[in-house]
Structures are given as structure tokens and as C-alpha cells.
């Protein structure tokens, strides 16, 4: 494709993996710092920490909203259609729900109690862990060879870690939808990695040709997915559908990072592995 000028064969394996490894270390440092200071690698959103969210049908001036809900634990920044509140007791919530019903009868209200949030969070962490281990097992079973399988798992790990780091830097919270997106990323990210590994290991021919062939196909794959997700993001952003917007944001970030990890990290390692085994 015209706009892709990267040549997968131009660099040595060492040069290829340097950038992603540096970024991986930076990402781990960011997540580690968050973990140490707040106990969570990414700031947990309402689903996990508890709170109330109100979605309006029609946009409203933020100042009007601030005035209307001044007696409640509003969380800034507030949007024109989407407002969040911190945890509150049952009686306060009842009165808030009544107020919302009076002022904005068409609104959507969601409320999660702190202990329920805690349960959801524990389960989400468990789900992420099990998914990752399951994915790794499938990959090892499929390739039955340590270095290529390890490379795929490492790129998937780097994808999740870097995406989580970017989320924490640009302020996307960890919620049920974004957890789903991270899980989906596990599936997505191995897609192009598997293509690359299969092509390089199982096809006949020169290593360079196989790498550029895989790159060619892989980039189309990722750009079509990116196109679908970007379209979803645009519509969700314009329509302020936060659930879909958040999922799409995380997937967009993740897919861009995945391109780097597939064509630098994974391609670098597989190239080194093939060269070491005497491939030309």
C-alpha cells in the first residue's frame, strides 16, 4: 500500500526489537508506578470503583448541569450528555434518581455500589489472566516450538501492557467495556502474529520474501480492522455513546501498537530465530 513505507527487511533483528523493548519497559514503569501509588495499574472507572453515571438524550450546557446537580458528588470533567458521580449512600442516590427523572425523564441512569464494583474488578482481573494464559497455551500448542511461540506471546503481552499504559496516560479508565476491549486485543493481536509465524515457518522460499509477503497481507488485515473500528469510533464519538466510544478508543490504540509489536518485536525475533538456524 502506498502510505506504508516501512521495509520489514531493512533492519537487523537487534535494531527491530530495540524500540518496542524500550517502550515496553517505559509502559511497565508507568503501570508499576500506578500500581504502587493507587493499587491499580490503570485508574478504575465507575464499574469497578462504584458510582453513578447519567446519560442524557439531548445535550445540555455543562454549567446548567453543574448547577442542577450541585448537591451531589459530581465528577469533573462533565460532558454535555454524560455525567458521572462518585459513590453515595442509598438515600442520596434515591433523591438523585428522582431529580434526574424530573429534569431529564429520558435519561439513562446506572449505579454500581462499591462492593459490587470490587467483585466486578476481581472477576475482570481473573478473566484477563485466564484469557492470557489460555491464549498462550493455544499458541504454544499450535507452534510447538519455544522461540516462535514465545515471540507471539511476548508481542501480545507487549500489546496489552503498552495499551494499558497509553490508557492511563491519556486518561481512559478501566471499565467493563474497556476490559472487554483489552480482552479482544488479546485475540486481535495474535491474528497477524500467527500469520507472520505460519508464513515464515511453514512456507518455502527466501526469508526476506516470506517476511515481506506476510507484512503485505498483515498490513491490509490490520488496516481493514482499523477502518471498521475507526468508523465505530467516529459514530460513537459523534453520538456520545460512551460504551462503544471507549471500546473503540482502546482497540484503536491497541491495533496501532499491535502493528509495531508484530512487525518489530515479533518479526525481529522470528528473523533472528531463522537466521540462527541458517536461513537465507
Amino acid at each position: 500500500m502506498g502510505f506504508v513505507t516501512y521495509d520489514v527487511n531493512r533492519y537487523t533483528p537487534r535494531q527491530m526489537v530495540v524500540l518496542p523493548m524500550v517502550l515496553l519497559i517505559v509502559s511497565l514503569a508507568i503501570l508499576g508506578y500506578n500500581m504502587a501509588s493507587t493499587g491499580m495499574p490503570v485508574k478504575p472507572g465507575m464499574d469497578f470503583s462504584g458510582g453513578t453515571a447519567v446519560t442524557l438524550l439531548n445535550p445540555e450546557n455543562p454549567d446548567t448541569l453543574r448547577a442542577t446537580f450541585s448537591g451531589y458528588p459530581l465528577i469533573e470533567p462533565i460532558g454535555e450528555k454524560f455525567i458521572k458521580f462518585g459513590p453515595m449512600d442509598d438515600a442520596t442516590f434515591e433523591s438523585l434518581a428522582t431529580l434526574v427523572n424530573e429534569q431529564y425523564p429520558d435519561a439513562k441512569i446506572d449505579q454500581i455500589g462499591p462492593s459490587f464494583g470490587q467483585t466486578l474488578q476481581e472477576q475482570a482481573v481473573l478473566a484477563l489472566t485466564i484469557s492470557f494464559i489460555g491464549m498462550a497455551m493455544v499458541v504454544f500448542l499450535a507452534f510447538r516450538s519455544f522461540v516462535p511461540a514465545g515471540a507471539v506471546v511476548l508481542s501480545a503481552f507487549a500489546d496489552i501492557t503498552m495499551t494499558a499504559a497509553v490508557m492511563s496516560v491519556i486518561g481512559i479508565e478501566l471499565t467493563l467495556p474497556t476490559t472487554a476491549a483489552l480482552l479482544m486485543l488479546i485475540g486481535y493481536s495474535v491474528d497477524s502474529d500467527i500469520l507472520l509465524t505460519m508464513r515464515v515457518l511453514k512456507r518455502q522460499g527466501k526469508l526476506n520474501d516470506k517476511l515481506s509477503g506476510a507484512f503485505h497481507t498483515g498490513i491490509i488485515m490490520t488496516t481493514t480492522t482499523l477502518a471498521a473500528i475507526a468508523a465505530m469510533w467516529v459514530v460513537a464519538f459523534a453520538g456520545e455513546i460512551t460504551v462503544i466510544r471507549d471500546i473503540a478508543s482502546v482497540l484503536l490504540i491497541g491495533l496501532v501498537i499491535d502493528m509495531m509489536n508484530t512487525w518489530l518485536t515479533n518479526a525481529g525475533i522470528i528473523k533472528w530465530y531463522m537466521l540462527k538456524r541458517g536461513a537465507k
Binding site: 438524550l57 442509598d90 434518581a97 428522582t98 427523572n101 429520558d106 435519561a107 439513562k108 441512569i109 446506572d110 449505579q111 454500581i112 455500589g113 462492593s115 459490587f116 472477576q123 475482570a124 481473573l126 478473566a127 485466564i130 484469557s131 489460555g134 491464549m135 497455551m137 493455544v138 499450535a142 467493563l176 476490559t179 472487554a180 480482552l183 479482544m184 488479546i186 485475540g187 486481535y188 491474528d191 500467527i194 500469520l195 505460519m198 511453514k202 512456507r203 503485505h216 497481507t217 491490509i220 488485515m221 488496516t223 480492522t225 477502518a227 471498521a228 473500528i229 475507526a230 468508523a231 465505530m232 467516529v234 460513537a236 453520538g239 455513546i241 460504551v243 462503544i244 471500546i247 473503540a248
Partner: protein
Amino acid sequence: MNRKDLIELLKNWQVALLVVLLVASVFFIFPHVEDGKLATNLQYGLDLSDGTWLQMEFQAEVVGFETSRPVSDFLTDLQKSLDAEIYLIDDDKLEIRKYVPENELGQIFTSAGGRLTSYEQGVSKETGDQVKQILEQKLNALGTRDAKVNPLTSLTGTTRYVRVELAGVSLSQAKDIVGKQGKFEIRIHTTGNATEHVLYGDAITTVGIPSQEPPGSDRWGVSFTLSQEGAAQFRDAAIRYGATTDPENHWLDMVLDDAMVYSAPLSADLAAKLQVEPIRQLYASTGSGQAGLTAAKNLEIHLRAGALPVEVSVAGSGSVSAPLGEYFKTMSVIAFVVAAIAVGVVIFYRYREPAIVLPMIGTNLAEIVILLGIAALIQQQLDLLAIAALIAVLGTGIDQLVIITDEVLHEGRVPSPHLYQKRLTRAVGIIMVSAATVVIAMIPLALMDLSTLRGFAIITIIGVLVGVLITRPAYGKIIMAILSK
């Protein structure tokens, strides 16, 4: 492509299966016009229709225990210090129907001469199912359309939450319905079929679980306790209308919301006792065997008059109005269409050949139609997250069609059928592995009940399976037929 080629292509089982499933799916989705609007058989989740969800947490716990004392003595002591209903649900497991924090409970266990070995907030699966039954009866009685009650049971068998979803009901209405109790009354037969009021449900202080009387006899019933006042009213009525002296002609009726749920005479033993003093502890027998047990379970629910056996607190709740649900639905359709167009543009930019691009997009959309057909068939609800999953399936689906196309187009356009088959097999190999990873990654979510994430996972898994097993192999055959022109 002429007619003969088309028939040739349809003889291929993968292609034939695709067409059959496509037709079947349209049938299951059943698009039709209803009241001048397009309607389908697809089920929408709460955020795409209107309604309310309530997630309630049981204020109770299931605990493991150890004691060197006789179990019944230990339980008696526990009961005294906890002042709560306690049930032995296994040899070493108790259900305590009152919320007590773990450390506090540990101390109480120790001072009663035992040890707390495990602690989980929630109730046993049986109690959870009973709560489901009570809530469903209540919702049915109110004629609430489309109500769902799901106890969420963990892998260890403890039910901590129960989730209620009600379509077309606002949050405050939903809370009223769930909290509402029926009107329970005990009436006594005076002369003939005429009856008189004895007491209302508020005089019943506790209701037991079905038990055998005498123990081990397989004769079932439910015990319940009356308040001091209620017991006095009960005795007065029994004496005044002559039930103590002639029980057979003065049966007692239990009435819930004006429907009789139980009727029986006083036992000779009870009649004699009532003559002397008010009795607070009563027992209603329901017969023997399985039928007796079932009747006892129902009576227990009726005696509680819709009150849950365990206190619950609202852990989370939400509601969506009809206009907002409609808005989300419209936006979902727009998002989907825009995504499909975007994918089409990218694919066209790359291959620039309608003969390849059209079957690709057609296959991709067929995949979505079949996925929706299955969703309609299994009544899987579509909510916003499921729509996101659908768009993601569209994205991965096209990815894999790219893999197939590139794999078979590799070096030269028209490979021999033998070579073609070899390459297709290799492409399907790649797809299988990546599909397996996606399915494995989603399985924990599909099993775990992380509220709305479950639908997301189920849609993703079905989508991937449909793609790998049906549409993508069929696409391989279709593209071969086209390319060999």
C-alpha cells in the same frame, strides 16, 4: 459467471451450507412490518430498549465450620449469639441469613467452641433458586412483561447476587415491585362456607424451611411463628368459633392476595393445647413424599407473602428510557453501516477488482446475518456491548478473508486445483489458530457472568465460530470458482 457455474458452485457443500444457513437466519430474524414499523425477532438488551436492571446482594453468608462439640449444641449456641436464621446446608457448611463480617463471625464461632474455616458472602444455590422463584411469582402476578431474574452463582456454588431485568419499567417502579409484599391472611370457617378474619401476614414473625414431622417420616410441612399478639388472636378466634372443640368443621384457610393457598383443620393435639394457652410455634403439614415436599416449598413462599427469605441490598441498578434506547439503537445501526462501508473502501483500495471485493464483502455480511440469526434463535440479547462485538466480528472476519485471498493468490493468479486446495488448507490453518485464541480469550467472560460482558463474549465466540466453520471455507470455494475464470 453463468448459470451453470453457479449451480456447480452450489453443489459444493460448504457453499450450499452457507446459503441454507443464510436463508434460515433470515427466517429466524424474521424481519416484518408491525404497526408501520420494521420489526424483527431480535432480542434487545436493556440499553437498546427501555427498562431497568437491579442487582441485589444477599445480606447473608455461606461459611464452613469445624467443631469438636456435637453439631446441634454448637448450632444452638451460634443461633443464640447471632440471633439469625441458620441452616446446615452440608456436613460442614452453614448458611447464615444475616450479614456478619468475617472477623466478627470468626470470634463468635470461636467462643461457641468451633472454628470458621471458610467465608463467602451469599446464600446456597437452593436459597438463590428459591429467591428467583419468589421474585418470578411476584413479577408474574403483576403481569410485568419481559422480566428476567438471574441468581449469579459463583464456581464454589454460593449465590451472592441476584439480577432482575424488567422491560418497560422505571427504576422506582422496579424497586417497588421487588420490595412489594402480598397481602397474606388467615381465615377461619364459621358455619358452612362462611369465613372470618383471624390474622394478617404481619403477625407471622418467622417462617421455617420445609421439614419432616416427625423427622425422617417423609411427611412434610412448614413451621412458622406468630407474634405474641398474633398467637392471642389465633387462640381467641379458634375458641370463639369452636375450632378447638370441633376442628373438623372449622378449617383454617390461608389466603394470599385473595386466593386460597392452603386449607386444613387444626390437629387434635393443637386444638387441645390452644384451649389452655396461646401457641406461637405452629406447623402446617402438606402431605407426604415428593408432592408433600413441593407443596411445603410453595407454602413457605406463600407464608412469606412475597418477602424474600434473606435480606438483600441494592448493589447496582440502572434504567434506560424508551427514547434513549431508540437513539442507541439507531446509532448502533449507523455505526455498523459506516463500519461496513469503511471496510469495503479499504478492501477495494487494495484489490481494485470487483470480482474479488464483492464476494469478500458479501461473505462478510453473510457472516453477520448468520450470527444475528443464531442470536435470534437462542434469544441472546443484543446490547451496546454486543453491537461492539458485532462490529469487531466484521473487522476480524474481513481480516481472515484477506488471509485466504492473499494465500491463494500468492505468485500468479490461477493456481492448479491441487495447489489451490493446499494453499486454502494452509490459510484455514492460520485462521483456525487465531480463531482458537479469540475463543479461548473470550471463554472466561462467557462463563463468568460479569454482567453485560457475557453477551459481548457470546456474540464474539459465535461470530468467530460461524466464520471459521461456515463462511470462510465457503468463501475459499467461491473465490476459487471466480478466479478460475
